[in-house]
């Protein structure tokens, strides 16, 4: 089981990084569209804490947390989202395509529902090569309306592949309440495919980690796919700049009460972690984010000539 302080630090890193992105976006230092996962950090941190080096993750458009929890370095992350040549994707992908293939992070994804079959393929690769690796497909509750989700769970079930599908159920399908978009409840949907579904408080990082650890162990034993439904909250809009006219302002208060980071902090204190240790963790993560942003600011811009020759593998002569 992951060290609770390490989980706390990971959630803090994601939170600090995303709040910084929000400011950078507002100031025009981050171009394009960004989708923040503020409030959902416990899911990314808890699930990824249960994974090993060899495992694979396919993510969503709201994928910063998954990438960071998978170990993507802050320097490469910020340089990418700030469109620099030193970005891990050399400034060609940006926020919606952060990826770290060395760490089995197969990419955030601009297409809702597209990551699931990619994770399925990764699970297939683990099986074919005879490793005990597993693959995780993160998805949102709105994605359940996409056909690829059904195709993926069906194939994973008939082939009993080591695929963990993790629903970050924040109640929203972009700008619409997901219960107006999707008729099936995830538990019933999962049961229809003969797959085990576990619901967990997605704002409780310990609960998420425990559920993930148990599911991943079952996957490694060859027991077939699993679905974890983590109920959580999307604190921000669908994208930065979303005025959220469709949302009840009182929801914000309810969300803050369940802040996964505040809850973990309180639990750590209650369990005897010194306040000074928590403050040190907070200061260190903040400093790491500041340093990564500073490095990205001085990095060279994305390189057009390199991009032009980066569509295909170099031709061997």
């Amino acid at each position: 089981m992951a060290d609770p302080l390490a989980l706390f630090r990971m959630m803090l890193t994601i939170r600090e990084a995303e709040l910084a992105l929000s400011r950078l976006f507002a100031d025009g230092e981050v171009p394009g569209f960004i989708h923040l996962s503020v409030g959902q950090e416990a899911v990314a941190a808890g699930i990824c804490a249960a994974l090993g080096q060899q495992d694979s993750v396919a993510s969503t458009h709201r994928g910063h947390g998954h990438a960071l929890a998978r170990g993507m370095a802050l320097e490469g992350f910020f340089a990418e989202v700030m469109a620099k040549a030193t970005g891990l994707c050399r400034g060609r992908g940006g926020s919606m395509h952060v990826a770290d293939l060395q760490r089995g992070m197969l990419g955030a994804n601009g297409i809702v529902g597209a990551g699931a079959p990619i994770a399925l393929g990764a699970a297939l690769a683990h099986r074919t090569r005879g490793t005990d690796g597993v693959a995780v497909a993160f998805f949102g509750d709105g994605a359940l309306a996409e056909g690829t989700m059904h195709e993926t769970l069906n194939m994973a079930a008939i082939w009993r592949l080591p695929l963990l599908m993790v629903c970050e159920n924040n109640g929203w399908a972009e700008f619409s309440r997901s219960d107006t978009q999707v008729a099936a409840k995830l538990a019933a949907w999962t049961a229809a495919y003969g797959v085990r579904h576990v619901e967990v408080d997605g704002n409780d990082v310990t609960a998420v980690t425990e559920a993930a650890t148990s599911a991943v162990a079952a996957l490694r034993r060859g027991e077939g796919p699993r679905v974890i439904e983590a109920r959580t909250h999307r604190w921000r809009g669908h994208f930065e700049g979303d005025p959220q006219r469709y949302r009840d302002p009182e929801e914000a208060g309810r969300m803050a009460e369940q802040d996964p980071i505040a809850r973990t902090r309180a639990a750590l204190l209650a369990a005897g972690t010194a306040e000074a240790a928590l403050e040190a963790a907070e200061a260190e993560t903040r400093d790491a984010v500041i340093a990564a942003i500073a490095a990205a600011r001085t990095a060279p811009p994305a390189d057009w000539m390199a991009a032009l020759s980066g569509v295909y593998a170099p031709v061997e002569v």
């Binding site: 293939l101 197969l106 699931a116 079959p117 393929g121 099986r127 074919t128 090569r129 008939i158 569509v311």
Partner: protein
Amino acid sequence: MAELRMVQAVNRALTEAMAEDPAVILLGEDIGAAGGPFGATRGLLDRFGPERVRDTPISEAGLVGAAVGAALSGLKPVAEIMFMDFITLAMDALVNQAAKARFMFGGQRGVPMVLRTPHGGGLSAGPQHSQCLEAWLCHIPGLKVVCPATPADAQALLRSAIADPDPVVFVENKALYAMKGEVEDAPEAVPIGRARIARAGRDATIVAYGAAVHWANDAATTLAADGIEAEVIDLRSLQPWDESTVLESLARTHHLVIAQEAVEAFGVGAEIAARMADIGFDELDGPILRVGAPFTPVPFAKELERAYRPDAARIAAAVRRTLD
């Protein structure tokens, strides 16, 4: 040297690639026990087992997406889409995922997958089982598109496609599956992107691919009876395509006709015509003409499909027109 049907040449290339490299796996609908709807994967399940020859459900989007994920994870999947028409269901995986991964992940990794799929009509298969949709895919940076016209090229090009570090769409003409041809026991590699001069000639160049190569050869035979020597270039690869071979031929013949089974408008021929009108402008002594299908869906009735499909007569007429 063996005489093989086109579909057997495909089967041989798959067998060889799988025997050589355990990372090569197959995914597709009814490719296992059934051996594929056209028999391209016959015998492979028995030889390589169900882990490497995966019969998938009828889930084109899911199976091509899984091929992308497997390719990003170190395998070399060869996915089959039963009819090219069904590629519509897998376009996200192909266009937004496979084609873009190398570029948008900054070169961290490529997607070494092949998507095999049969196109083409002539079988009264109707509007949803006969289309030639390759031009769509040629339009997508990151994809390669190949379309062999002979069993020898089917074998060699499929080996090259499987060995390629990037996603390759391997288009097989289903009307050619039964065609026989010699395949060497240890054939030379055919690199993707190199055309073949199928017939030499000095008066006009006919560029074609897939089934149209054979119509072009027939047209050249007809024209030869009237003393017109047409050169036939079999493109073999559509993306990338062999610009220099076409330009060199045009520089000798000064007349160009491009023939394809696909709908003529906005097709592969349009791209070749536009490029040659640019870089080959000084060589041209007549208009560049295209021969392709009319702007309608592929009809079912035999007499309608006969009227719809381009053929040797139309190609010969185009050559005469540009020489006129």
